[in-house]
Symmetry: C2
Subunit: 196 residues, 2 copies
């Protein structure tokens, strides 16, 4: 869509306003959650007229979906030389994204609307999980080449299990341990112990 502002004669839509409303949407999502936030509040915080929002989106779902989609994070592909060094990097990266109000509220929203509005779950899958699943498979492949794990290990299943544990640890934080350490320990259970 690089040629978005073509043809039509009139004043073009303000990219600035558009960005402001996306930002306000994410902020409010993190602060009060999906159900509680109103279009009016978003408009007010973004310093934007309600009209301007309604002109682009016809529902809160649409707006929020687009706002979440607008977050572009690079998926890192660690290559630290050993499986567990790579995994630690992945865990740390996941922690930084997940352990925030925005992360929590997003997950809550996704689950709550998983049946009625599968949109959010799809976005989360496509934009967040799927790429990381690919990355993880690459990491496991290298580990297989180094004989660090069994050659018939199913990377997808391991990734899902890891994601599940992360989700669980986000809701019920471990008491005596870091989130990261806890996730790692669970993963050791799956992948057999690390070097020593």
């Amino acid at each position: 869509m690089t040629d978005a502002d073509q043809k039509s004669p009139g004043r073009p839509r303000s990219a600035k306003s558009h960005q402001a409303m996306l930002k306000a949407t994410l902020d409010l999502l993190a602060e009060v959650g999906f159900a509680t936030m109103s279009i009016e509040a978003i408009a007010a915080r973004a310093g934007v007229g309600k009209t301007t929002i309604y002109r682009r989106y016809s529902s809160k779902e649409e707006l929020v979906a687009d706002a979440i989609e607008s977050i572009r994070e690079e998926v890192l592909l660690p290559d630290a030389g050993s499986l567990w060094a790579d995994i630690d990097a992945l865990i740390e990266n996941a922690a930084q994204i997940t352990l925030t109000p925005l992360g929590r509220q997003s997950v809550a929203m996704i689950i709550g609307s998983a049946t009625s509005h599968p949109t959010f779950a799809q976005i989360y899958w496509t934009k967040y999980l799927e790429p990381r699943r690919q990355t993880f498979a690459a990491v496991i492949d290298r580990a297989k080449a180094r004989d660090e794990v069994a050659s018939d290990l199913d990377p997808g299943l391991v990734f899902d299990a890891m994601s599940g544990i992360m989700l669980y640890a986000t809701i019920f934080p471990p008491a005596a341990e870091t989130w990261q350490d806890y996730v790692r320990r669970a993963l050791e259970l799956i992948l057999a112990p690390p070097s020593r």
Copy 2:
């Protein structure tokens, strides 16, 4: 509280109405979710005056918390003779409770309010997870006695991992597999392969 209806002279509170409002609360929670449901709607569905609700609860949180707490399910302790037979029973039991609108919405609510209102997470932990965690430990203990798993296996961690996978599979249902089969496969990853 067996002596609840004592002393006071006037008309006692109706247990029937109380049950009706708890039922209506759970129904609506399953249908529309926590944030969307109103006290008025609960009263209407229960065939009860709003006053009757406000006399007992001062907030929606209180009401919902009590409604969820009122669900009494027996935690089953399977003893089918082998580890995997026991596990299959546990998985099936979890599936029946989790894979329902009420289960999904409860989880969503718990996560969404995990930081602001830890009440729900605590209830879920105390009433649901903790008992099952105990049960699971017993199952693992028996498996250890039968030499089916390593003697130093941490049952709590395995349980948490399993719960995490169940949670994950609830949000992102496996495409080519049953929820139960999928969870089982992940668990095999952790506990080493079953007999054959």
